[in-house]
Symmetry: D2
């Protein structure tokens, strides 16, 4: 903890800051510069709010030195984490592709997707059974029945299943049918949900919120890790910016940054990250080139008639071509697909 | 629904768009311009995704004409809605102040806040019992015990209670102790929670998410209204931007915009909106000047020792002075406090 | 200067950082914590890039302690600056209204605006002669002829003139006709222009760029001050965010923040800040309530036919009503209009 | 032009909109829907502001149908533009690397950079002689002398030169020494500069502003094209978002989007786009994978001692390794380096 006092801060103001640091268990080192007095705190608690110091009278700025997350930090496992999902290793040499429709709509649709995914080298099928939709008038998902269809199609084709959980009451159902439980961007800071996912053992795919910093993403992962579940896969899926041509701005720099700050694997979702089918392929290639451990891609047999997110779902023939391109890129960065 | 075709779009592409519009129940009017063909769809479904058309081959742009929300729109109740909470009218002539600590910490703290609030003219006491915190190592709230303390203090001083619900399992508890149930910014798109809140009758204070557009805020309100609960109060509490000096950027323009687009009352939260005690007062004054129906302000007897959000909590003497300033501003815009 | 080393940073890495600090003239204090080594630098140069340290091997974070601006900081003139423009004081008790059309279009238009401004209590007339337009096909301004019309109308009605300079070659012309030279948002970091404006004596109204932090605004002011011209008025005119209903998001919190960090006066421009005539009035009131020293408001006799920015120009009758409202708000915050 | 009237718009309001459309030269088609009246305008002027219609009474929304840029649009040259710079083709099969220091500092530094660039396959050397700096106390560049050094080093090693122009008065100097004149992000909307660059023939590398939408980037290109200079190369170099770990957020999706909307070549600048040396390489690879026609990369013999932007400059050995990686990626997307 470092607190820099303003030029001309009074002795009383400095003492007040020192008192608060001592209250929090810090040993305080006081250093008097030409212009500013700096107070360094060593030891002390983790659970305090650095902003409290920033607005104290006489304070210029305050900085937390120790990262607010510990279990998610690279230092905790310098060699990196490989999340093992049955036979599949996420975070190892192979780039893992998870593909499928936005929502499970019916048996036919999901069967076509599973067949395509398996044939082209994807290892995991995705598909939503519970859909968070901005409008109450939009399709909300098939629920448990959708999960059963997804599981059955995956089993027929030797695929694993990832599907989204919308709140903690749905965890048992998801744990029954899915191999990986997905936390959507809107739930990245649903802390009750994160806490419950930490208490169970299914791997969790945690998506970055559209307004979440990389640090906040890692703090949300920390909630799950702190509960004892270390099988967390992060996912970059676009942040909200002023640009409107794309639905979100896919922040691919988050991939190398997360690799540096954390030991957890990270995948990219160019479908949500762009919202436009016509640029999913170049962004998928870019994500692999940037070091992503995997991709989550929406594909639909007939996207123009999809019940949700059809605009960002690629057509089957586009998906097939993309898988070929991705193999070349993976090779170029020393990985396999 | 309006679809503008690209210059040089083929007849086949145009037909494909028309087919999809017809599938959705639209009567299609085709208009051939010098450069672009425009397709207008009349009637048709509400629950479709306009982006699906945007990425169809040959399409330049597509626009939804009818607002995606109906019950929340100004047209639905041109005269505006007054939410009646016991004796208190929110959305009428009086500007309603809701004040109190970020979290309920102990009996003493909440008693001091309640006494202050009642004495200075606030009508509602706020205080969190369940706290969504970015880090798992921070204080998470006192739970039910906190709600009881809050209720007791409010009753002693003739105040109403607003407190945050974190997920749908907590609704019964909140409904028992609070007069207004608050949905926090992180939960603005927790659609299961919104749907459940629509099925009960307690007024709901719905905060804008930090990355939510005004349209998305109104769509979230629509979830509650669609369930039959029309007692919804909106709250502007800051959006996330590139500026880092303030915790968020309080978007006061949302107040007149919501007044134009919707019939629902809207309050402002300058505490979360700025994250800094030292600018809460000017922003509170500005919110009233911009037409806010109320304010939510964090106050704490000893903010430097607050268990959460101390940086943005004003001191009791600051609060008292602010209430005087607000009376003058309210008067200047023809309202009372 | 403070550099926090990563946990496990090597002695070699620490030495490398110390060497660079010494190169920059800093006295280095080394403090070894339980987890992190912290290096404090005292004295040293101003003109270095803190990011260079952030990416050095073994470094966790680096912070500049001394503000990068000096002349613009509140500490330089704790009592605040009043910019005197002829008989007019900007930054004193009176809130100064600057009003007029986006562009000078013709003699009639500017005469009507000047008459309205003078009659209702505005003190300065605005009007662009050189217009920065996103598209090359839009109206680009009348140039010198426009400035002459503006000056003549102002003189007839006892008003002062503010008008925008687009590059340094135009300074002499602006200095001849205007009392205040405006630097537009797109030019906030046109450093050659700022430097030249520092060498002359006309007051400068410096607008915040749409992607500029408050610190960057103050750094741009520093360019002008460093040249010897202390007559700088800052202007908040909206920043770019994800919200699209308004053209920009007017960041009113910049007003109290600038008041805290700097001695310079600050005005608000709710016309550009919102881009919509229908919410200019509430945001103008809010700006005064937040402590603005003045307002810049676009008004046009016939906004639907304005050659530029008609959407954000209020009608004459709206302006008149707004001036009445502003008087009440100014009074409520202890100022005059 | 399409104007959608609000539900319940009066005949008078509709007539007012029609009148304004007619004034602008549009043929108006009126279509009365169940809920909304829609007015379509065919023909008409380019140079009007669509927002003027948005705020007219009774209007719900308004959309411009024809793109505001014409010469920059893909439709103008469906086959794409190759900018020929001496022997070098930008926008063809080969991915062009432009490398060099942020600023030209001295003869030795620039010689080392030129030798490295030429040896590893870069074709263009970059280096600033005039530096836009946020603070007036930072290094501002060597000016004409820097340009001479850059030219000499380039000539010794058979490289081309790109360097930044800060305002229109510097164009002759840049045109003398550089092969490509760069317009920096801060100047993307310096319209006087753009207009002058349109009147001369040197190729222009136009960087996207940190708050500029893709449409605004293309509109700025239009200024240059409209003057008769068709040799424009666009450059994505990061936009400003809420994420602070990186200096900017490199928006790689702009690459495929520009390829779709425009015929102009586009390169990426991962140095400015990230601000951090440690993630330049993955983002450079990603840019090529996304379809960039080239890269602009900052390299410095001793970045820790660079006079500007050292944090984002890679070391010579990092650059060499990166060039090998880029060859592999270029090959994987069917191009050469």
């Amino acid at each position: 903890m470092l607190v820099v006092m303003q030029q001309g801060a009074t002795e009383e103001q400095i003492e007040h800051v020192i008192d608060r640091l001592v209250d929090l268990g810090f040993d305080v080192h006081r250093s008097t510069g030409l212009i500013h007095t700096v107070l360094g705190g060593v030891g002390g608690k983790y659970d305090f709010d650095v902003a409290v110091f920033e607005v104290m009278e006489g304070v210029k700025e305050a900085h937390r030195i120790v990262s607010p997350y510990k279990l998610a930090s690279r230092g905790f496992r310098p060699g990196g984490t490989i999340v093992q999902v049955g036979p599949l290793a996420i975070g190892g040499d192979a780039v893992v592709v998870m593909a499928g429709p936005c929502s499970v709509e019916n048996r036919d649709q999901i069967e076509q997707c599973a067949e395509l995914a398996a044939r082209t080298g994807a290892r995991v099928i995705r598909g939503g059974a519970f859909k968070p939709r901005s409008s109450p008038y939009e399709f909300q998902g098939l629920g448990a029945e959708g999960l059963q269809m997804l599981r059955a199609a995956a089993d027929r084709h030797g695929l694993l299943v990832v599907s989204e959980v919308m709140d903690q009451t749905q965890i048992p159902l998801l744990a029954e049918y899915a191999d990986i439980v997905q936390v959507g961007a809107r739930n990245m800071q649903n802390f009750n949900l994160l806490r419950e996912l930490g208490k169970q053992s299914k791997p969790v795919l945690l998506k970055r919120g559209i307004a979440a910093s990389i640090e906040e993403l890692l703090l949300s992962a920390e909630y799950i890790l702190a509960g004892g579940n270390y099988n967390v896969i992060l996912c970059e899926r676009g942040i909200r910016t002023f640009e409107t041509y794309t639905r979100n701005t896919l922040d691919l720099s988050a991939i190398p940054v997360v690799k540096k700050l954390s030991h957890l694997p990270i995948v990219a979702d160019p479908s949500h990250g762009t919202g436009r089918r016509d640029i999913v392929a170049p962004m998928a290639r870019a994500a692999v080139a940037a070091g992503a451990d995997g991709l989550m891609i929406e594909v639909h047999p007939d996207p123009d008639r999809a019940l949700s997110d059809g605009a960002q779902s690629v057509r089957p023939e586009q998906f097939e071509e993309l898988m070929h391109q991705l193999q070349a890129i993976a090779l170029a960065v020393g990985r396999t697909l």
